[in-house]
Chain length 330, copies 2
DNA sequence: GGGTTTTATGCAATCGATTACATTTATTTT
DNA sequence: AAAATAAATGTAATCGATTGCATAAAACCC
């Protein structure tokens, strides 16, 4: 029996006689044969893998997104390769190694600081690239986004409805696209509610617990304090509340706090954190699905338009927000 | 110029004349040539990748371990493939696909429920396997472990030194090797301190926040309550404290709590969580290093003994523990 | 039963690199 | 300068599967 027949018995069972097929299967069973993926991939001109560029693998925010990607990819028999985009970029051009189409059949970038142009330089559309969570401003590549602006606006409106009129915001890292979107949402909502945008109530941050704690210190040092604060991430919101607690300031009695993301701990923080829920696993899953479509479709998005999606924001109300004190209500 | 010369210019620069080498490099620069990894791997009989079997990718505990693995692996030019061992196992034999040596040059299992025998059946020592964090009881494969028993004992001794004599423990999942090690550590330390091991003070759990909350409910319902509780994970400790807070019970005033892991939030929880620090990134890094050694060494551990390691436990004291009340001190 | 169509199998090229061996070219030695 | 040695390059086989084309075998038709 020739190797060709074996190959067909495996990848096109109906192009082979039933008896032969059974013989092949029996032999495979007996010898423990497994197809050599490397050889198959070489011949088929694909790699059977997608690479996920993660700004920082250690950041637990991404693990849920990754789980969604992995689930969708493995359903299609695709391997998931992870690469730390910040680290790889630091080590001279190591990141470029991942972008070429002999490494992966597709790329999901969770890192918005990697631009369109960066990918284009390395790959001219092959392999296809999809952004998830983050994206590069003005990109023409498909992206799966969360409604960051709408989410931030929801947070502000919730506080306004509780009677708050002095509302602050803890920003994410300055160069991050999510930071800008969420800040824009906050400003738009403040504006829509007829409240002034007070620059001194925008605290610098970087999504981390420590940044939230620093914002708390800034808040404590203020003569005129916001009565409510929205944070651009749950981690910062928790860091903020934690540091305030150490200073004897109680949330929500003395200040209301809204987070962003709805990470696992938020429900169980003390107090429970009111926040904007981001379906991280779903974002990952959708990104993988879109990418798989692009891979199958030869990289052309069938209708010309990139298959981008925006997932809606929802507010989860917990214990960290309460109606503004009488001073606010005037 | 032949392809052989090009190949040598790249992988053995000193076997080629300097002029030719420069010509090759120039041509590469000009044409944007990249070696086809698939072809190289086929010829070299390797894959250039290691696979990490993660029980649950969405669990943020593992993301740090993964970061350590990725850093060490990418330093060696190895790709990191992630696979969800629970999911892959659920979908019939899909997990076996990852174990063969035409998929990966090595395997790191973070899943102790995958046994020696399971790996042996699929691979007869090729590719090499290393356990990290978890391991299979009685395994002869190398493993990078944390001193779970010692850590749990540290936690208990800390409480005893504070004067606690009624000490409970929230268990991890029943079939988990870490659960057993930590439980053994608790029992050993109680014993060494002359305290009785009270089975009714061992709460069932599964490492999750929700399990901690359930343990809190159980604690609340007890006639005779432990004055201090050690949890087999920080998540459970946080869930425990959170649920107690909702019931109006204060930590550490009414009960002291010690966690296990030192995840990011522990420092900033309210109160800060006293816990056993586990250097997750380092565990991952060491596991990758050991695995890389095995890959290079042809799978033979040079001295016969598997290159296992155990990392020492350290106690981090924060606000969730305080001296026992006078009732305890008698 | 002979011719025609359909189905099943084999042959051999191919994917893109690596490498043992052969050959050519350069360098050293006497 | 010829011989001996060393260095550089080329030739061609190889890794293990896939697949276009050719051929053989079976099924069908009148």
């Amino acid at each position: 029996m020739s190797t060709a027949t074996v190959s067909r018995a495996l990848s096109a069972p109906d192009r082979v006689a039933e008896a032969t097929r059974h013989a092949v299967m029996a032999a495979i069973e007996r010898t423990g044969y497994r197809v050599n993926q490397t050889a198959r991939n070489l011949r088929r001109q694909r790699t059977g893998a997608i690479v996920v560029l993660v700004p920082n693998i250690g950041n637990p925010f991404f693990s849920r997104v990754l789980a969604g990607i992995e689930a969708a990819a493995s359903r299609e028999g695709l391997n998931v390769l992870i690469a730390d985009s910040q680290q790889a970029q630091a080590r001279d051009g190591q990141l470029r190694n991942y972008l070429h189409d002999n490494r992966a059949d597709g790329i999901i970038s969770l890192d918005g600081s990697l631009s369109d142009g960066f990918f284009a330089a390395a790959n001219r559309g092959r392999p296809p690239v999809v952004y998830a969570c983050e994206w590069s401003p003005g990109t023409r590549l498909p992206s799966i986004r969360f409604d960051n602006e709408g989410g931030a606006a929801l947070a502000v409106r919730h506080l306004v409805e509780l009677g708050h009129r002095r509302i602050g915001h803890i920003l994410g890292p300055a160069d991050n696209v999510l930071t800008h979107a969420r800040q824009a949402g906050v400003e738009r909502a403040l504006d829509a509610c007829g409240l002034a945008v007070r620059r001194d109530w925008f605290f610098e941050g970087d999504f981390s617990l420590a940044a939230g704690a620093r914002a708390a210190q800034a808040w404590l040092g203020m003569a005129e304090r916001p009565s409510a604060v929205t944070a651009s991430s749950d981690e910062m919101a928790c860091g903020f509340m934690s540091e305030l607690h150490r200073a004897g300031v109680a949330v929500p009695r003395d200040v209301s706090v809204v987070g962003f993301d709805d990470i696992d701990i938020s429900e169980r923080f003390i107090p429970g954190l009111t926040t904007i829920r981001q379906p991280r696993q779903e974002i990952g899953g959708r990104a993988a699905s879109v990418l798989i479509g692009l891979i199958a479709g030869g990289g052309q998005s069938d209708d010309g338009a990139p298959a981008s999606e925006m997932l809606p924001a929802t507010l989860v109300v917990r214990g960290s927000t309460q109606p503004a004190g009488s001073m606010e209500l005037r």
